[in-house]
């Protein structure tokens, strides 16, 4: 017998965020054993960096990964940040979407699910609770607290199993989590490579990492400069959607839509607002909460046809070419390195971005395949390494479109080269939910090409000079080899003795060198 709708809906229940992600963990990036572990590293490292930088501390992280069984690991992550006050610990580690709000700011965080996502993964795969120690200052005093936590997915809240005060030496957070269904790998997508690349793009940080075999890697910082904190900038009209406008309208304290527009969007003058009112026929003096979807749509549609000043770029903080060079030198010890930071430009007419490119040659640049070093591309978005979905990424596409032969690199694939590209933006256009590849906006492709070609030209200059020096050495060697032979044989032919030839030898060597340097040769 057919069941009634009411009966069916008795089983209908709302999912909390935690419960939803428990069922769809791939949406947090936890797909595949290697990738899952890389995402965990990413979340903790990013959080530690952000916290330290906000507190004006040079980040230092210690990571210890132990393997207890085939794919059962224990991760211990310790940072030197400001710590988390006791009351906030459960929110940070056990609540999904904590602190989520509409912010137009350049940030490392990609999903905003952060640490709580990792705790969820740990709990789902091992059933074990998380152990957190937080050291923080309160009223000028250093305090330490240790908590054993579990996440209650039904309520999206933390359950404190145990709590005690502990003694700490300094501020910072120590997290200890168990994981199964993850795998530590040295491949490009693995956790180790993630750390290595992170340090290159964050040369002000120090990471000490002990891998499951007990081997300790120390990635030292190459600079003592803490990058300035990105400032929140108002979104540009060309970068917003109707949904964004409605969201703003709901959360604003402004009383008229007119003032909401000028205060929430950049480059929005009174003149422009009047223009919008005139062209759309919408009364902008009404209250923001009364804004209808159709009206928002109409306004956004008009934005795309209007002309605005380019968006402000003050919110963009590039790494800086000199800092990138330092990072590459520290990690790759290359024979040659050069980097460049482009001026800010926009894509889609309203989203500002900056491209930074660098190239490292020789030393430990490139990727070892067999017994040969091959070229590697390191992609970053706001200093965060992108290690998956390389093929579909705009950065890869732009780099592949460059004719490297023109820059003296006959075969890019097989050259000991690391190409570094970082895109800095408040709104990096990702291709997919994994947020690992950048969409091929024409302006982004253009900027990546231009900046990479600039560094390639510098590399070419270096390679040329190196070749010339080698040639010079070869040339003088040729004369030193053949002049005596020729004179010995010529003397035998002429049936006479070998004359003094040092003068002629010096002359030809000198002349060949001048010729090589493009100087005029006087007879």
């Amino acid at each position: 017998m057919a069941r009634q709708a009411g009966e069916l809906f008795e089983e209908f229940q709302e999912l909390t965020a935690s419960e939803f992600f428990r069922k769809n963990k791939q949406m947090l990036g936890f797909s595949g054993k290697i990738r899952s572990l890389t995402v965990v590293f990413h979340e903790f490292i990013t959080n530690s960096f952000d916290a330290a930088e906000e507190a004006g501390i040079l980040p230092e992280i210690k990571i210890d990964l132990k393997r207890v069984d085939k794919d059962h690991y224990i991760l211990k992550h310790i940072d030197n940040g400001p710590g988390i006050p006791e009351d906030f610990i459960t929110r940070v580690f056990c609540t999904m979407f904590a602190g989520s709000k509409f912010r137009n700011i350049q940030s490392r965080g990609q999903q905003g699910l952060g640490c709580s996502g990792c705790v969820l993964l740990s709990q789902m795969t091992t059933g074990k609770p998380a152990k957190i120690i937080s050291g923080y200052t309160e009223n000028g005093k250093l305090k330490g607290v240790q908590m054993i936590l579990k996440m209650d997915v039904k309520t999206n809240m933390g359950l404190i199993l145990d709590k005690k005060e502990v003694e700490v030496k300094e501020t910072g957070v120590c997290v200890e989590l168990h994981f199964k269904d993850v795998s530590y790998s040295l491949s490009e997508q693995g956790a180790y490579e993630y750390i290595r690349r992170t340090i290159i793009a964050n040369p002000h940080a120090k990471i000490t990492f002990r891998d499951p075999t007990g081997r300790k890697y120390i990635f030292n910082r190459a600079t003592e400069i803490i990058p300035p904190l990105p400032k929140e900038v108002l979104p540009h009209p060309k970068g917003v959607t109707a949904d964004d406008l409605i969201f703003m309208a709901k959360h604003t304290d402004k009383r008229r839509f007119r003032s909401l527009l000028t205060s929430s969007l950049s480059r929005m003058s009174t003149k422009r607002v009047n223009e919008i009112e005139e062209k759309t026929g919408i009364d902008l003096n009404k209250r923001p909460k009364d804004m209808k979807w159709e009206e928002a749509e109409k306004i956004v549609d008009l934005f795309s046809k209007m002309e605005f000043m380019a968006p402000p770029t003050s919110g963009l903080i590039p790494i800086g070419f000199d800092q990138i060079e330092k990072g590459l030198i520290e990690i790759l010890q290359p024979e040659f390195v050069t980097a460049t930071t482009r001026k800010p430009v926009t894509y889609k007419g309203g989203v500002a971005f900056i491209i930074e490119s660098a190239i490292a040659y020789g030393g430990e640049a490139g990727r070892i395949v067999g017994d040969q070093r091959k070229a590697e591309i390191m992609r970053f978005a706001n200093r965060v390494p992108l290690t998956f979905d390389q093929g579909s990424c705009a950065i890869t596409e732009a780099l592949k479109s460059i004719d490297w032969k023109r820059y003296g690199i006959k075969d890019l694939e097989n050259a000991p080269i690391t190409v570094f590209v970082n895109i800095v933006s408040t709104n990096v256009p990702y291709l997919s939910t994994g947020k690992q590849s950048v969409a091929p906006e024409p302006e982004i492709l253009h900027e990546v090409r231009q900046s990479s070609m600039k560094v390639a030209r510098k590399l070419q200059k270096y390679l040329r000079a190196k070749k010339a020096a080698k040639e010079e050495e070869m040339r003088s060697k040729i004369f030193e080899t053949y002049v005596p032979i020729i004179l010995k044989e010529a003397a035998a032919l002429a049936e006479t003795g070998i004359p003094e030839y040092e003068h002629v030898l010096a002359k030809v060597t000198r002349r060949a060198k001048a010729e090589l340097l493009g100087e005029v040769v006087d007879e």
């Binding site: 040729i478 002049v483 032979i485 020729i486 004179l487 049936e495 002349r511």
Partner: protein, 351 residues
């Protein structure tokens, strides 16, 4: 001065120039006449190819040229030693000898080229410098006596295959002869036919079996016979562009050896046949021309060596009838026909 002394002197002067320049603190160089196609000219008076007066300078001060200079002086020393000791070596032997030198050659091709450089620079043939080709020359049958060292050779008593022209033909002296002409034929088949039919007796001729493209020694032999014994040289090859050209290289020399053609070309030698006219007149069995034959014939029409009216007529005629014929095709009328009928008729018309 004989050739040997000239060769030894020229080789010595190559070394003397270098030593003198260096003694004056100058950077020595060697002038090597250019062998590029633009420097190979057809000399209408001499009726063979010659080298023009363009040359390249090989300077001791040039990184790319200094090794070649070293190779040249090394090879010059080796040749001088050969000439003085009256020995010869093949190019292959030279290449292996060079393995023990302070300069090396990448391959034999490289050493052959340096050998040619030395030839053009000194204006001597490589045989003059003691360097011999690998292959023997043609076979000679007929009343000719030669002296090689202290051994007398009779080209009538060297077996049915005749006397084989040695690469060192310049060392050989003509002692005695009783012939009025030389007939050189392309194939050994025809050579043996002529020996069997006693053509040497009938026509009072030397029979020379070229074995295809004539070797340098063969060409040198024909030139010497023509000039020293003052007897006419006739060439009988297949009636196709390739046969024509084998004859023409004997007559006017090749572009590749432009620097030594004055010692190799026999401008007075005559092409007896097989011509396009012969194909028609004797109604010879034929093959149709292949595309490559047609192409080659058209090339010959543009070649300055074929400027003679008779050649132009014959080439055009062959293109018109679109047929070619081999020497042996006369056998259609019996094995003896070529000696009994063809040669007498042709020789009569040409002399």
């Amino acid at each position: 001065m004989n050739k040997k002394e000239i060769a030894a002197n020229k080789l010595k002067s190559l070394g003397t120039n270098i030593i003198e320049e260096v003694s004056q603190n100058k950077v020595p160089y060697i002038k090597v006449p250019s062998r590029g196609t633009s420097n190979i000219l057809y000399d209408e008076n001499k009726r063979h190819y010659i080298l023009g007066d363009r040359y390249g300078k090989r300077s001791l001060g040039n990184v790319k040229q200094i090794k070649k200079i070293a190779q040249m002086v090394y090879m010059a020393n080796f040749c001088k030693d050969l000439v003085e000791r009256e020995k010869t070596a093949t190019l292959r032997e030279l290449y292996y000898v060079s393995e023990g030198w302070d300069v090396d050659f990448g391959d034999q091709q490289e050493s052959n080229i340096i050998g040619e450089d030395l030839e053009v620079t000194l204006g001597m043939t490589r045989e003059d410098l003691g360097l011999m080709p690998e292959e023997d020359g043609a076979s000679v049958y007929g009343k000719l006596k030669l002296l090689e060292g202290d051994i007398e050779i009779d080209a009538m008593r060297a077996g049915k295959s005749g006397y084989t022209i040695s690469p060192t033909i310049d060392e050989v002296e003509f002692v005695e002869h009783d012939v009025k002409r030389v007939i050189a034929v392309e194939t050994m088949g025809m050579f043996h036919r002529m020996v069997q039919e006693e053509a040497y007796k009938k026509f009072e001729t030397l029979v020379v079996g070229l074995k295809g493209q004539a070797a340098r020694a063969t060409r040198r032999f024909l030139k010497r016979v023509n000039e020293e014994l003052k007897i006419p040289v006739y060439i009988c090859n297949d009636g196709d562009p390739w046969g024509f050209h084998i004859a023409m290289v004997i007559i006017s020399g090749s572009a590749k050896l432009a620097h030594v053609n004055h010692q190799l070309a026999t401008p007075d030698a005559k092409y007896l046949g097989v011509t396009a006219s012969d194909i028609i007149n004797y109604d010879l069995p034929t093959d149709p021309l292949k595309d490559i034959d047609v192409l080659r014939l058209k090339e010959l029409l543009k070649d300055p060596r074929y400027r003679d009216d008779v050649w132009i007529t014959e080439i055009k005629k062959m293109l018109k009838i679109n047929k070619k014929a081999e020497q042996q095709s006369f056998s259609k009328y019996g094995l003896e026909y070529v000696v009994d009928t063809y040669f007498p008729e042709k020789l009569e018309s040409m002399e």
